[in-house]
Amino acid sequence: MHLLDWIVVVVYLFWIVYDGLRRSRGTDKVDGYFLANRSLPWWAVGLSVMATQMSAVTIVGTTGQAYATGLRFIQFYFGLPLAMIVLSLTVVPFFTRARVYTAYEYLERRFDVRVRSLASFLFLMGRAFSLGVTLAAPAVVMSAILGWSLPVTVLAICVPMIVYTTIGGVQAVAWTDVKQMFIVVGGMSAAIVILLYGILQQVSFSQALHLAGATGRLNAIDFRFDPRETYTFWSGMIGGLFLMLAYFGCDQSQVQRYLTAKSIDEARQSLLMSAFVKIPLQLLILSTGVLVFVFYLFQAPPMLFNRAYDARVAAGPHGAEYVALEREFGAALESRRQAATETDRVAFLAADEQVRQIRDRAATIVKETTGDSRYNDVNYVFPTFITTRLPIGLVGIMIAAIFAAAMSASGGELNALATASIIDFYRRHFVKEASDAHYLMVSKGATVFWGLFASVVAMYSANQGSLIEVVNRYGSFFYGSLLGVFILAILTKRATATGAFWGLLAGMAVVLAVAFTTPIAFLWHNLIGAVVVVAVGMGISLLQPPPSPPRGFGRAGRPASDLG
């Protein structure tokens, strides 16, 4: 990287910390630290919600997936707009009126402390580990691209993020997210312009689309109903709907975002912003990956994008074969380039298949030589493009955008982990009466603790396949079950605390069994978890006497079953 690019990255990291600290005014009370005194406008909350979802995994992993398989990953988000409407009608007014800090506080009011603690514990475990993976995504890739060690890269992301989140609380997180969203979207748009410029030197825009389409990369929608297929219209619409309901309705890292809004209306608008913008934004990112594929039809890509093992492979038993493969790869690329230029569809597809087979063989050699059975170069495609093809200055901005995405996604999660730890455990079980200053101090301590915990997890989460899938798989282990217990709490009056508690445990057990013993794709785990919790929870509840009416919920004094 050029000196100017390094300067851009370093200046950006310092600016983020400075701006985060500047935003820490008004966070000298717990209400300000965790909920920004419920003072944020809808557009800031909406951008913060989207920034929390759009991690570096999204930039690095999603573009890589689109390079390899095209637009089909967009189906993952098909359930999101509907989920936002359902949540706007149900939990948004519910949680806002309740004046809660965490979603799980409500579970104690409706059921008992066991259900609240178990749900919050599941959130803490699932979120802490997936936060580690969220941080690992850019760290693994950027350490290879920048030549830094993994711990140094993890610290470059985590230290600024931990500093501004710890000192400034949710307010610093939200306002930093707003800026980071602009940097990420701006950076991706600039990359698209550069890609289009490079492609249009070779072929027309229509020809470029036909080339991408010939390989199936523009087939975004798959109507087959096959539960083993990860991304289909149905898995996105049904499994994705349950995942999004659980993620935005029961995951503290999201619930806390809209609890900072000024009013129920503004909280709703912040969620509906995602309903409008999320799919087009994901299309922008996926399109970047597809354009990188078309770009590399005319500019020679490396045989494998992850070059971490090059030296070991060259010195290993398959070294000579690997060198011969590289020559073969060069010839196959030339055939593909020629066929693409002449728009000879049959020859193009044959050459593209040959390129794919050579890449597969090369990856197999790397796996055999190194013993790294999870070797994968999907996440290295876009960073390789950035560092080798973008002009000076823009490389720095794009690297800063990846760091920005990593920090903006993680800061909100870190703040949510601290909130759940302090509100649902420390204040509830250990120190019930203390001053605001005391709770604020331990909240900051909890933020630092979870930041360090996630940093350690990040260092051990390297090379786990496509990282975007790893994050969503982690989430899907517990999201469906959490959603199930909130359905029992909010939509039924008959469910009892014991039913909810054992239903939640049963849901988790069934999802784990399904995940490890069947080929059912992970998006369906959310539906399965929710259904099992509701079925087992209601079954047990019906064997017991009806619960006494829940205590008043919220200052408006509305009953638990009234969804406003």
Partner: protein, 44 residues
Amino acid sequence: MSSAGRAPDAEIDRDTPMTRTYVRVLVIEAAILVLLWIFGRLFS
């Protein structure tokens, strides 16, 4: 814990029906799905 600095309760509880916005969300999503499907068919 203190609630100093909060927005007033009446402001926080402001709750207006947004049916038109929900319909817009659904219509736009349907349009995107149809366009994506046509786009895939057109260039495959």
